[in-house]
Structure formats: C-alpha cells, structure tokens
Subunit: 350 residues, 2 copies
C-alpha cells in the first residue's frame, strides 16, 4: 500500500473560510483517493465543520492555531508578525517535508512573500511567477505571470517562458508546447524594451523551446499558443479584464433571454445547452493559481471561491505533485538555463 | 443655411478599403445630414464605387493620389516617404482647415505619428493618447491609452485622466465623470511606480476631478468608473483580451445552441432576444478610436471593420466636432493643467 499524498491547507484563508474549505475538501474526495489533509486553523471552528463532513474528517488532521492573515494585512506585517498564522504554518509543513503541497485562499501577496521566504526559489529562478489556466477555443492555455511581479525585465520573462514550457509539457502533457509573449502587436519592432529583448533572446536561442513570437490580447482566447508569457502587471489586468468581460456577457445574455415570454420559453427549451455553455465558462473550473519557481508546491485559490472552486484548487495541487513538477522543472531548468546563459552571452555580445 | 461639416477620409486605409469606406459613407448618411467628404485615394478605384453609391457620391469629392500607407510599413518610412499618401493628405486637410476631422482605418502607428507631426499636440500635452468606448453593465465607459504610448510615466497618466475627464463631460455629457486608474489591486500600495505616483497626484489635487482611485480589470466591464486611465501597453492588451474573450464566448454559445435539435429550436424561439444580445456586444458598435490631445480631430477605425463599423467611426468624428471637443479641451486643459502644476509642486515638495 502506497503512502497517502499529504496536502497542507490554510483553513482560515478566503472570504468564506473555513466553511468552504472543509466543504471543498469533502467535494475533492469524489475524485481523489489516498490523500490526507493537514488543516491549519482554529480548532473550535474546524471541529464542528468536520463533524458535519465525516468523509473530510476521516482524512483530515487539525493543527490548531488562533492566528490568521487577513486580506487587509500588509505583506511586510504578515511576514514579520505572522509566524504562527494558519498560512505560515501550512507553508512550513511543505518546507519540513510533512506535506507535499499547500493550498490557501488567503491574501495573495502575503502567501507569495511567505512561500518565497520559507521555500526559497529554485536554482536559476530570480522570481517566482503566478501561473493559471485560461480557457481557449482550442482547449486551455497556461498564462504567467498573473501578478507576482509588477515590474519585469527580459530575463524574468525568459525565465517565465522556460517555467511555462516545463509546466505545459509535464503537467498538461503537451509534447512540444508553443510559447508566446503578450504584446501590443505581432511585429518585432512593437512593444516595450522588456518584451523586445525577451523575444530576441528566445528567437536566437538554441533552447529546445517552440517560441511562437509575440501574440496580442485577442490571441489568448483564440488559443494561438499553449503558454502565454507576460509581466505580472499586464497579466493580472488581462486576466481580470477577461473575467469581467465574461461576467458582463453572462449578464447581457441573461437580460436578453428573460426579456420576453417567448425568449424565456426558448431559453427553457435550450436550458441543457445553456447549462453546458455556462459550465464551460465557469471561472471556478479554472480556480487554483500555481506559484511556479519555488522549492515546493503552493497553490492560491481565489479568495471569493466556493467549495467547488476550492476542490478544483486541491486538484491542481494534486496534479502538479503527481506529475513530479518540481523534480522535473529542476532538471529541465538546469539544462535549459545553461542554454539560456550561452544564448544571452551571444546576444549581448553582438 | 449653415455650412456642411467637412470630413477628410483616408479612402485607401483598412483591410477592405476602399469598398467598405464608400459603403460606410453611404451608411453614415442615414443618420447624418449637412456633411461633406473629401476622399483621398485612387480615383480609378473610387469613381466606380461612387457610381454604385449615388448618395455618397453626392456629398463626396475625390482628391486623387496613387500612394497609400500599408499596414506593414514602418512608422519612420511612412513619415519620411509618405508625404503624398492618402493618409497624410487626409490629415493635411485638417491642418489646413479644409476639413474639421479625419478618419482612417489604416496603419495605427503611422496615423498617430503623422497626425502628431502635422497637427501637433495641444498645449500642456506631452503625448496624445488613443481613447475608445468600452461597453459596461452601466452603459459605456471611455478608456485610454489604448496603444499610442507603450511606456508612460505618472505625468502622462495624469494628462490622460484630464483628457478623459473632458471627453466624458463634453462628448458623453456626464456631469461629473469618475476617473479610475487601472491597477493590479485597489489598495494604494499596489502597482508600479507610475500608477502609484499618478494616483498620489490625483488624490492630492485641487482639480475639479472626481478621482475614484485604482480599479482592477474586472471593474472595467462592471462600469465602476466613467473613465479608465492606463498606459498604452496595458490598455491595448486589456482591450484586445476583452475582444478575444467576447469572441470566445460567442463561439461557445453558438456551439452549445447548435448542439442538439431541441437547443436549436429553443434558440430559434429566442432568436430576437439572442439578436438583441448580439447587437449589444457587437464590436462594430464601439468602432472609432479617438486620438486625444492633438490640434485636430483624428479618428482611427479598426482596420478589419466593415461598412457598418466604418460608419460608426464617422459618427464618432461628427460627435466630437459637434461638441467642439478640441475647443473645450483647450480651455479646460489650460485651467486644469494650472491646477495640476501647483499640485505636482506640492507633492514633489513634500
């Protein structure tokens, strides 16, 4: 009998925590077996919830702490004063090796700072990035950075490209994933210095990477590339703009379909199709942002998600661990960054 | 009898030019009267088209030129060698006072560079910006910059805020429009240096401007503010990402509704509602990006648009002219930038 996979959970993180966390664990068990959860949080709140969810209770162990990081808390305060917080202790469990990965729906900035401080970055990575799935007409893509780094230089973008490539190949199982850099135009001359230099580096490279070149905003949804590389400022805004557009569309569609009796009847007839449509664009499906480039698996769930969304974030962690993402990325990255250095010297030397 | 409004048209700009240009003029006449068009382009191509569109012909005058700017042309080449191009001559007509505004569906970079070179910027404006309408749950917002300036500092963003405010107040008729700066979070501590400094300047200001603060990507579609201020890199990518998301949604919806006989029947019953929905999110409705900050009205139509879209761009020009946008902005801006200087000195002096 193999050892169960152990995941550590910041049970107090998220707008609807801890209720949705425990319900999310219960929901995840429909698809996961041989898993064990370390729940960091307030025992007095967690115990009554576990009593109501016996399946979750059977695979969970509470690690009590009174302290929790709030959404309003500054990153610096969280780092300094949050050593006994549920978030920090959940990360510590990954560092000590007790858990294979951590999931939190709490304060993104604090989670990234603590994870970076405790777990450290992988060799060759200057800055970790937040990566996420993005639905496209072709299936799904990976996009990074989604907000960890508001200012990025060309080297950061090249590192994101390499991490994204390894992720798409190993976790998504895409044989030769294509990489694109998000820009304001497809031509080489367009864009700011960082994207132009990163593109030059990736074009000249002998890296075994399929670099597509620049893509524009509307190419993301078209699924033109498997991996979308961008700085955290642009990536965060692009992703949230897409979410906002999706919500607006849903609302406009609802308003149109409930506008008259006949349209209501039509919508009723087409309800299974509309439900299928709704499921396909359900943001909860894409919940669970991956912190890439750290010495440990760390997944950020959307703060406002529900149990279904949280269960998806658990699955993302499980997927990365079962594909040995961090072991593979260490090997691949060592190899790729050797190439990358050579190639950079070649470009700079020109 | 009042003088007709004269608009100059780059008849050779755009993927489907000159056909869609002439058809667009014809379509615009359903809503415009007392208008006259100066058509810059190839007479041999334009004359047969005008014969087929007698209404357009009656209000158009061809100004022949063989030369046109292509989409592939570099901005520097267009500026240097494009003096007799249809685009350049159409802009010249605004500069000479013969036309009140120019519309082109050609190369965006070349149009902006030529318009800036020929028309010059308004006093106090370092860089013109591209502004566009954005549909929201509340109606519509104005967003700028959409791609004229890939790198922006805090002063540029403050100038965009002021121009956007004047636009929303005078052209959209919003009494006290609210302004937001696009960022990765709503808190003051978030974001890059440019947005943080611009926000500080606008917060401290005695300007009669309703500054909302930072907004996030999903606040755009929600209609949280009337004017969305951002740098051209982020703005271009956010807008195109929204367009791409809209297209993806439309495609998913179509696939769902044509998936079975019963859903097809339902869609048929709801067809007038679905048509209304489609019309509400039709990107052609929002065609016509405004170049703000120039000594003259210059409108950029989407390169791939059709006649309906081009007619909308003509309307945008007509609207800006009939609201005396450039006269008002000159007055308002002089007043506001006086405030702005004072306030900047105050902040810098701290």
């Amino acid at each position: 009998m193999t050892e169960p996979l152990t995941l550590s959970i910041d049970a107090m993180g998220g707008d609807n925590a801890p209720d949705m966390v425990i319900e999310g664990i219960e929901a995840s068990l429909a698809h996961l077996s041989k898993v064990k959860f370390l729940l960091f949080g307030d025992r007095a709140k967690l115990e009554p919830l576990l009593e109501k969810h016996p399946k979750a209770a059977a695979v969970s162990e509470i690690r009590h702490t009174d302290e929790a990081i709030t959404n309003e808390q500054k990153v610096s305060t969280a780092l300094r004063a949050g050593r006994n917080s549920s978030m920090r202790l959940a990360i510590d469990a990954v560092h000590s090796g007790e858990a294979a990965g951590v999931i939190s729906a709490g304060n993104t900035g604090a989670l990234m700072a603590m994870a970076k401080f405790v777990l450290k970055t992988l060799p060759g990575i200057d800055r970790p990035a937040i990566a996420g799935y993005y639905p496209t007409l072709q299936g799904e893509s990976v996009m990074l950075d989604l907000g960890a780094n508001v200012d990025c230089d060309a080297d950061n973008l090249v590192q994101f490209a390499v991490m994204g490539e390894v992720f798409a190949r190993n976790v998504l199982g895409i044989e030769n994933p294509s990489i694109g850099i998000l820009n304001v135009g497809a031509e080489n001359l367009k864009g700011n210095e960082a994207v132009k230099k990163a593109s030059a580096l990736l074009q000249e490279t002998t890296l075994p990477i399929k670099f597509h070149g620049f893509i524009e905003g509307d190419d993301i949804g078209r699924g033109v590339v498997d991996v979308v590389v961008t700085d955290g400022f642009t990536g965060n805004i692009a992703l949230k703009t897409a979410e906002g557009t999706a919500k607006m569309f849903g609302e406009f569609l609802k308003q149109a379909l409930t506008g008259s009796l006949i349209s209501k009847l039509g919508a009723l007839m087409a309800r299974s199709a509309l439900k299928k449509f709704k499921m396909r664009v359900d943001p909860r499906l894409y919940n669970g942002a991956m912190f890439l480039g750290l010495n440990g698996i760390c997944i950020k769930s959307h703060g406002g998600t529900d149990a279904y969304g949280f269960s998806k974030a658990i699955h993302v962690a499980e997927e990365m661990i079962s594909h040995s993402f961090n072991e593979v990325i260490k090997e691949d990255y060592a190899q790729l960054s050797g190439h990358s250095r050579e190639m950079k010297e070649a470009v700079v030397g020109e």
